[in-house]
Symmetry: C2
Subunit: 380 residues, 2 copies
DNA sequence: AAAATGCAGTTAATCGATTAACTATAAAGC
DNA sequence: GCTTTATAGTTAATCGATTAACTGCATTTT
């Protein structure tokens, strides 16, 4: 039915080996023969059967990208960026991208291993691993090309490419401190994502340096999205007595705490949610409360808010991870990689720095556009 | 090295055929044998080699999703939603998802055909086709399972699953008319995407019904994203003399037109951009200018804006398309599908309806939460 | 002149399943 | 008692490439 390699061979009066060698560009075939075979191939509309090739060569030229199983995950701008970076690099190198979500089934039935064992893929990129993903220990044993992207699991000795979360958290917080803020709240993403912990550590480091004690009452838990960021901020404002409709009983009797003058949110989505909460309470960003986010998703610059944030080129992170994975596959060098990409502060409107006025403390604002970064040492 | 089917057969003292039949759940094998074989399979950690199976069965259990080659495409919430819908249905039905972007190369070198010819995929979902994608005519000839998602090309007789764009445009515009607006601007996405044209037709239909003439000076071109939506709205406000910084020469001498009291934007992203422009000019949404969008992306409800929009469940659209594609693959029924999904108006804040005040015209606002929809007939 | 090397291929085994066609045995039908 | 039917398998061809090992011939080396 469809043209196959042996048809080409017959038509050219050569063996199938010759045709195959022509296709792989072997030097064992003369120019004349190459030309002849190539012409016949073109004329006949021949395409190699990938399954046959896979069976024979035992590689698939396919990578799998695994993303967390959050509903509507692909609408999340963070994952979108990562995926774009991965895709562009992979397709440039003739790799196909297979998409998977880390559903319950995917994990429980070890489908992540199945993909390797069945020989469906050559390597795997795992985006956004959390402490719940301890089953990834399976990748420590056998030698399957595997890289985590954007997060990692400290206990496991597996490759990863991540942003410099600690420095990011540090820069964001230090920036606020340098703007004169002393009471800075922190809205964190789920601590099961280790990056969130690292950002928190950066926050604490900056406070420590400035001699500001960490106040637990202004550290709020959220879950990396707009909604929970909003909720966290509402809760905070409630605690500060900024909300007119107050609950009675336990909550109300806790008493009112001093309102922070700034908030560092563990990612941009949560920052955007926080801003919405602030504005809903008729407070002003950045005048009443300055806000800094992290990730620099495209939305941050486009929306109403002109968010000050920490950039670490999520697209690039995806690209680098893909590059490393392909290197691992093709060199079959199973060297671990633990790559931490640099971050930088992007100063826009929500922190108040660009107003170039004197801060409360009375000293002139220093705008750190591109602070020097000391690349931190991997954890293990 | 790795366990293969013949190893299992040997260990069980049966033929490879038997093992294969057990695996495919054939009734030709006795219960006892099945149990025995299954146990050995489990113990040995056997996984079938997918390439061998593909070669033998001539199907791949893989679908390809093609998305437009807009940079950072996966960060676009529309495509994210579609992809989520597709992914969830596909993986539930044991299909793998291959991701491709319609790059220049992909189109020019007919890689979309190659994927079929090489037997890499069983079917293809093409998201967001435009009039530029005329090469898709290739899919009219051969019988390759192929469905367009979210858009279509009128000249080509190819399957598609889309939202009811015409009715959507109609409902949005009628809603604004019912709120008392008579001067309603339209910001459209690129007309190369036929859905944009359909939305425009809906807009015109509603105006016609209300006896309002179409005014070209308040119809603006944008490109489905926040930025161009913002730019279009700025341009409009400039024309209306709302902008203090005015250009001299040609633009300025055109004279000032009356400002619309409402805007219908061809999608939510553009609506969000428009709102930003309006607010930047110190005008109020919805008091000075009401805004209605279309698509109901998740952001619309989460952001500052509480956008009134037309919903057509993009996630569902992806799901339905995937369902139909798999049907086409497995029944090898090459029946064309042209499915148009219903839309409904989602009334939130930006149209002003929920304020329940009297509109300018002096009559009471009717809120249409769920208007009856007459499913329109496909175009061809 | 014999041996070594290079060139341009060919032969045939191999990758690991699936499945149409066949067989052997037992049970049922008439 | 012979034929038919059902059950539970087996045999062996097949899917379509790739590639290690080999061949035959020409040229170069010694």
């Amino acid at each position: 039915m469809t043209v196959k390699l042996s048809d080409i061979a017959k038509q050219c009066g050569v063996s199938t080996a010759t045709v195959s060698l022509v296709l792989s560009g072997s030097s064992r075939i003369s120019r004349a023969t190459k030309r002849r075979v190539l012409r016949v191939i073109k004329q006949s509309g021949y395409y190699p059967n990938i399954a046959a090739r896979m069976l024979s060569t035992n590689n698939t030229k396919a990578l799998c990208v695994v993303v967390p199983h959050i509903s509507h995950i692909f609408s999340n701008p963070f994952f979108g960026e990562v995926l774009s970076g991965i895709y562009d690099y992979a397709s440039k190198n003739d790799y196909k991208i297979l998409l998977e979500a880390a559903t319950y089934e995917f994990c429980f039935y070890k489908k992540y291993l199945q993909l390797f064992k069945e020989r469906t893929i050559d390597g795997m990129l795992y985006v956004g691993s959390t402490l719940d993903d301890a089953y990834l220990i399976d990748f420590e044993k056998d030698n399957m090309p595997f890289i985590q992207v954007g997060s990692y699991i400290p206990e496991l000795n597996l490759s990863y490419v991540i942003g410099d979360n600690l420095t990011g958290g540090y820069l964001a917080t230090r920036h606020l401190i340098e703007l004169g803020h002393r009471r800075i709240a922190f809205i964190t993403g789920n601590f099961k994502v280790v990056s969130a912990q690292d950002r928190f550590m950066g926050y604490k480091k900056a406070l420590r340096e400035a001699g500001i004690p960490v106040d637990k009452s202004i550290i709020l838990k959220a879950d990396f999205d707009e909604k929970t960021g909003y909720q966290a901020m509402c809760k905070l404002l409630e605690r500060c007595g900024d909300v007119t409709i107050r609950r009675f009983g336990k909550e109300a009797s806790r008493g009112v705490i001093a309102r922070p003058t700034a908030v560092f949110a563990g990612n941009d989505l949560m920052a955007l949610g926080a801003i919405r909460a602030v504005e809903e309470k008729k407070l002003k960003v950045p005048d009443d409360i300055a806000v800094v986010g992290m990730d620099n998703i495209r939305m941050s610059a486009a929306g109403d808010s002109m968010l000050t944030t920490v950039e670490y080129n999520i697209y690039q992170m995806g690209k680098v991870a893909c590059e490393e994975l392909i290197k691992q596959i093709e060199d079959s060098a199973d060297g671990q990689i633990k790559e931490i990409l640099p971050v930088k502060l992007v100063v826009r409107e929500t922190c108040g720095a660009n107003r170039r006025r004197l801060s409360k403390g009375g000293y002139v604002v220093k705008v750190i556009k591109n602070p020097s970064i000391n690349p931190p040492v991997p954890n293990n």
